[in-house]
Symmetry: D3
Subunit: 333 residues, 6 copies
Amino acid sequence: MIDQPELASLSKGDSINHFLLVKKSDLRLTKQNKEYLSLELGDKSLSVQSNLWDDVKNFYNIKSNIKTGSVVKVKGQLDEYQGAPQIKITEIRLAKDEDNVTPLDFIPTSNRDLEEMKTEFRNRIKKISNPQLSKLLKNIFSDERFEKYTKAPAGKLWHHSYISGLIEHTLEIIKICDLMCDIHPELNRDLIIAGAMLHDFGKIEELSFDSAFEYTDKGKLLGHIVIASMIVDEEIKKIKDFPEELKINLLHLILSHQGKLEHASPVVPKTLEAITLYHADELSAKVNAYKLTLQSEIKQNSKWTKFINLAGTDLYSHDLENFSEFDNKTLFD
Amino acid sequence: MIDQPELASLSKGDSINHFLLVKKSDLRLTKQNKEYLSLELGDKSLSVQSNLWDDVKNFYNIKSNIKTGSVVKVKGQLDEYQGAPQIKITEIRLAKDEDNVTPLDFIPTSNRDLEEMKTEFRNRIKKISNPQLSKLLKNIFSDERFEKYTKAPAGKLWHHSYISGLIEHTLEIIKICDLMCDIHPELNRDLIIAGAMLHDFGKIEELSFDSAFEYTDKGKLLGHIVIASMIVDEEIKKIKDFPEELKINLLHLILSHQGKLEHASPVVPKTLEAITLYHADELSAKVNAYKLTLQSEIKQNSKWTKFINLAGTDLYSHDLENFSEFDNKTLFD
Amino acid sequence: MIDQPELASLSKGDSINHFLLVKKSDLRLTKQNKEYLSLELGDKSLSVQSNLWDDVKNFYNIKSNIKTGSVVKVKGQLDEYQGAPQIKITEIRLAKDEDNVTPLDFIPTSNRDLEEMKTEFRNRIKKISNPQLSKLLKNIFSDERFEKYTKAPAGKLWHHSYISGLIEHTLEIIKICDLMCDIHPELNRDLIIAGAMLHDFGKIEELSFDSAFEYTDKGKLLGHIVIASMIVDEEIKKIKDFPEELKINLLHLILSHQGKLEHASPVVPKTLEAITLYHADELSAKVNAYKLTLQSEIKQNSKWTKFINLAGTDLYSHDLENFSEFDNKTLFD
Amino acid sequence: MIDQPELASLSKGDSINHFLLVKKSDLRLTKQNKEYLSLELGDKSLSVQSNLWDDVKNFYNIKSNIKTGSVVKVKGQLDEYQGAPQIKITEIRLAKDEDNVTPLDFIPTSNRDLEEMKTEFRNRIKKISNPQLSKLLKNIFSDERFEKYTKAPAGKLWHHSYISGLIEHTLEIIKICDLMCDIHPELNRDLIIAGAMLHDFGKIEELSFDSAFEYTDKGKLLGHIVIASMIVDEEIKKIKDFPEELKINLLHLILSHQGKLEHASPVVPKTLEAITLYHADELSAKVNAYKLTLQSEIKQNSKWTKFINLAGTDLYSHDLENFSEFDNKTLFD
Amino acid sequence: MIDQPELASLSKGDSINHFLLVKKSDLRLTKQNKEYLSLELGDKSLSVQSNLWDDVKNFYNIKSNIKTGSVVKVKGQLDEYQGAPQIKITEIRLAKDEDNVTPLDFIPTSNRDLEEMKTEFRNRIKKISNPQLSKLLKNIFSDERFEKYTKAPAGKLWHHSYISGLIEHTLEIIKICDLMCDIHPELNRDLIIAGAMLHDFGKIEELSFDSAFEYTDKGKLLGHIVIASMIVDEEIKKIKDFPEELKINLLHLILSHQGKLEHASPVVPKTLEAITLYHADELSAKVNAYKLTLQSEIKQNSKWTKFINLAGTDLYSHDLENFSEFDNKTLFD
Amino acid sequence: MIDQPELASLSKGDSINHFLLVKKSDLRLTKQNKEYLSLELGDKSLSVQSNLWDDVKNFYNIKSNIKTGSVVKVKGQLDEYQGAPQIKITEIRLAKDEDNVTPLDFIPTSNRDLEEMKTEFRNRIKKISNPQLSKLLKNIFSDERFEKYTKAPAGKLWHHSYISGLIEHTLEIIKICDLMCDIHPELNRDLIIAGAMLHDFGKIEELSFDSAFEYTDKGKLLGHIVIASMIVDEEIKKIKDFPEELKINLLHLILSHQGKLEHASPVVPKTLEAITLYHADELSAKVNAYKLTLQSEIKQNSKWTKFINLAGTDLYSHDLENFSEFDNKTLFD
């Protein structure tokens, strides 16, 4: 862990002496035909625009080594341009091994332990009884792809928008769906859990998350729902005797999980499993989103956030003491 | 239990020899100034219009004894008028003690055991640690009112629309909310559980459910959300030192639980507990509604229901085998 | 061609002596446990419900030969049940070869010559210069699949809703898109024409159209947009060196061609080709839909149709003489 | 009245020598742990942010005396920070008695004479014939509460958003409703006038208006409609024999007066009085809002305001002479 | 006045011996090539379909004399076909002078005295001070056109939908606007009153109202707003020196009076007069519409109407006594 | 053509030595009562605010000669105020004849040759067979009005928003409509082409386009749809025996061409010609708008524009090679 004040806590004029992640890097020409680097630098709290001019020491050495995803040590001052913060760089160098910093130090990460989450996820796959679904899930969540999956955020900004947010979000939905299966034996548990595991799986190609979280071209032009459907369709074709009825029900869960056409699902939920998955997803996503918003937007001396567009309201943080001593174990006696 | 074919299974011309519940009864005059009774008769499956003319035997004895909520024994034939079924009555009498039927035999009832649900509900109140909330809940859910509450349906038609549906629905929400509290320690467990218990509580005055489920005048003009708020406000005033902050947070949960202004909540959810309760309610309600719809609307030789207005689609019932042997106990290890 | 009055022109009580297509056939039991066939019979103008009771001559010979898609000769009378027409059957037999009728005599068909349309379509493929697109289109529209494609309607009810309507509709869009390419050289002609050819291609699996036009289970649960995307994705994988940029642009055309999320496109048009295809599709579809509606809904002595839900209005048929002698050839001098 | 240029008329760099109202005051720490006051200062025309640093003379004397609602005399200069105006304070002191200024000099106030409005309101109550409604209105609008009520604005920004705007607005609605009762004798005049008087009454708790107009926590979490309903319900309970039918009709007027669910009414108008009150409220509110907007937003040399979000358009101020000599007295001959 | 039971009060099988208005008349051929008349007959309460067959006595004498707008004397019986009422005619004749009935006896008419309304309208024109507006109004509301105007209904179904409803509605709006001018001297009284008088004036061509109220072809294709604008534009051109600013403000009132684009106004209200006229129109229209609906839809033994689509709710008729003795004269002291 | 860098390519601090168009000019007073000119100056790329203070050389000579539509030569520097660019003027003079610049050098203009477009338009009129339509079009598009028409832009910002954009847009629609007439002989070609020519014709009064494109007062208060309808109505009245049916169908095309009420059409399309014109207009407008947006908003090193409000998305510019060698002439063989 790096020990330096967060960018978001600094004001105009404050001096910078920070390790920062290069979130974007572009070599450009000024009108006078001199080279400069247009950079986006940031830590977990903020991303800031900065231009690296050719009069900065060692510009010509460093210009082709600074890439998206590099970590740099920057000295300078926080400035402001057209209402947005900027860093005036006076010195810059690439991070060295002995600095002991990695890109992951600069992007937000799930608070849950990743290994624990991986184990929980793999264990849940093992409980799938249906042999075709079991095989499909093992094939899809294997090796490299599982590594990528367990690193992905669930979104760019709104909910579970941090490294390993996608698996954290998925595990919450699985718990909610298992609870609903306890209440409603009519639900096909294997089917709905497989749907839960795969519903947002396309986000590993919709988003890039090595440094800043960005939508990919493919992500914007196809969307994670269709990306996932095409991968699942392809993987199902590889499994002998995968039942057609099971296939279209599983694909339906992925396609309909955003619940409404205007939320970019090409079909609305039409099965009992689909309506359950949609609302389990909503519950997990919205509670996480409101929690993150309250944590980041409640300001000193206030109980209210600013107006939050995605919520359509400002949010309130009460200060009621939470002293319930509820005994969790008795819930499902 | 009465042993007779359900009305919904009969066709035009079939003969009737049934105990039926009087769902509405109105003494009217024909244009020739003769008295007749305009009746709505039904069982759990259907309600049917019927006129009792004065030439039916013992019309004059029975006309003032047949009231909404009476059970009658009817002989006659199923007829049709302007596209709707009607019963042509040839004989009618009030049910007697020895018939061993009660109005509850004719209206749908929760499949869960009522005493078990009552115990579960009372036990959950006992786990509330906050003394004012605990007192409030005990006062509100006491004696007569608890009896009425545990009988109420959660709605007229869409979800948990049967006797004791309201407590069944509430217990589901409580389980979902307790699960969310396990995931998010930031949630105030006592507050959200109290909100869950009270959120639809106004339905005991919004609906009448002695025989058919109908909205009351008060229910239509004020709505269950405001009815509940006024009762809770009144009960809070009776409790010494009930904290103002706790009061407005609890009322906010009731007022905002339908999530959107256009769903008749006068405020949208603005706290972490409120957004959780809204989506827990949605999850419980929608899954139950779709299940009931699938059970009643899937016809012989079809996997599809008709178009369901409230769902905005027709629903599909797959025939996948559900053979998961998931071990529930391991969920929260 | 068969020579018999259209069902839609008959009234209650009129006698029936018709060849009709079996659009649905279901063997059921009465409450008295006798077998009967629940049939939907129709010609191009109307579909009518009918029950074939076991007292009709040769019921036991014929009951297992009457299937969806059979043609039958029926004698009886037009009746009415619950406000809908019904046929009371007195005699029935399967059509024989010498009757010289086929199922296609009973479902509406495009007015354009099919062979001409096939030629036009194949010729347009030949003009595709891009080798990968050319190969992809030839693979997809080959043999059996092309046969099926050229038979499909473009929809169940609204526009080009007749046999070979899909290819007729597609050829219109191609013409409109070619015109737009003439006006805007910035448009990539090969890309947009390939998109036009594939945009509604998934309808061959979304709909069944051997007898009545019906949505398939797969069609309702996945939708033609995703069905087409999965097939195209699969076919692209078979072509060596198909460029990724070309692939996502082509898939984007299919996915976005309904223009708006609420019209079931999972992404909105984001490229110049996509916005062109969307509006070319709208133009072709709406003009055809309004024309069909005016043709079928204008009644004797009226210039107005009834209120048409999909148009949100009633439509007007003026009686202005159309005597323009416009010389088409001069359009693009 | 104070004689000083309005803040809104000043430009960056202009000097300040003004009495101003403290609309918000917050004691904070700089990053260097020095105290400073974050202030919002304003007059009727504008509110401006300002920081009072500890190097301003007598900072330590004054810091704990400056509170929300104080009036201060400020010297300094109008500056700008991140696009918003700021005051650079060089001297500050609290207003003294001999300055002869009060907070009300700095917040906008109704142009109508308050005593006249109070008399008009009390006289109208006297004309209520129904004894229970008469008693209810006298109890609710008594003493302290009436004082508060007659000071309240009807809104924060849009219409009648000035001191005593609520009573001015209410008196307008009463006139409109009385006119509608003249036209439609079917309207229950007592009921509708009582509803008009109470409809926005909850705003006295929804808003704080001692200095700047702000929503209270309670106001945001419960809303003025429910606040009013709970008070009216409580006051009705104190009146012997208040008819239930009258009570739910009166509450319905309050609950439904915003006309649509999406405007935060939990029920829509369902009675003749309710639909009348809703549209009378709209008429009074919108005309006032457009008038205020035209007065404040029409700039030099223009007949158009900027785009007004709440109106969904820009507004136009014609310069037609208004020379009608209409004789008001003849209106209702 | 004719003395006969209203059609709406009769039931299937009741005998008919009524004068009725011919609302539509169409000579058609049966499939057997016999002539018959397809008639729509009605009184103020109901319109009923009826076919006049050629076996009715004097069919051949009467067939070409029965036209839309004729009054006929009919004997027969009330029957039912496909769920809708029909009259089986056994005898029919045209009304004679000595029958003393006119078409106006069969269509609903305003309860207000027409001559009184005409005088009120003409008197209000006289109070217009602006000479061009005064001249314009006198020209437009002169002679024949005034006669037609004062007969027109304000709508087909919803509000003031009876003979002379348009002038009744307009006079209400004038009163409301005059009241708003008293409250807001900023309103240009002449302009807004002229706008009120002309706002729905195009309905005299949008609707036909000699017998049943129907939209004309022109009315459906152009709409009353544009029809009125074109007439007013034409009449303004005839007046010398009509100020351009006055013209576009007056036309703006007509064009924007439905308040929202989706209500078919091509521009939204952008002036103070326009927003006032819009809400005055709403107030007059909605209160009248709800009153008519409550009068016609409240059934025996119920306080609720059926669900009313245009209101989006069912309506409630309380039975509170209306004993206010409000003294109208004191309103504007 | 003038040879100077475009304003949009300059940065803060760059020096200005430009001919610029005066888009707005306003003589105002400072608080110190000195005169200054508030100017909006621009070229094809950008409009910039600038104040001309009285200390600039020859202020008093020039102040009354600088008017909206003048061309001036300006020296100074590009500055920034409140986040927007400004020009600090040090010298200014009016353009002289020998400078050889005209206002049209500073506003964007169609890329098509104007004379060619005029010829194409006039030739298409000549092909109208219907004598009344032919006469109407010749009268409306005659002399001065045709000159004005052929100069007008089709909009202020979104599509064809440049000098002669209106005729370019109209010619595109004509081609599309002629193609649709080839496909659908049911379309009345003369009627739809006349409608296409007149549909946006009101824009010549809705917009002013001598210098910057601005809405006129009349344009904002009446809208181009109604302006056009009133002119066409007036011109039709001048033509003897213009058929009423033709008139209302032609006006309907103008009124309904924006397709939806919420797009400011007072009626929706109800005829086959109207639905065709609406979608042809959409196709032409949207493709042009997206092309212009992609041309102006794609930045260096990016394939994406910023988020475009009117499109509801960001737009993508692929870099696929466009090497189709499609032979246009074969299209309609």
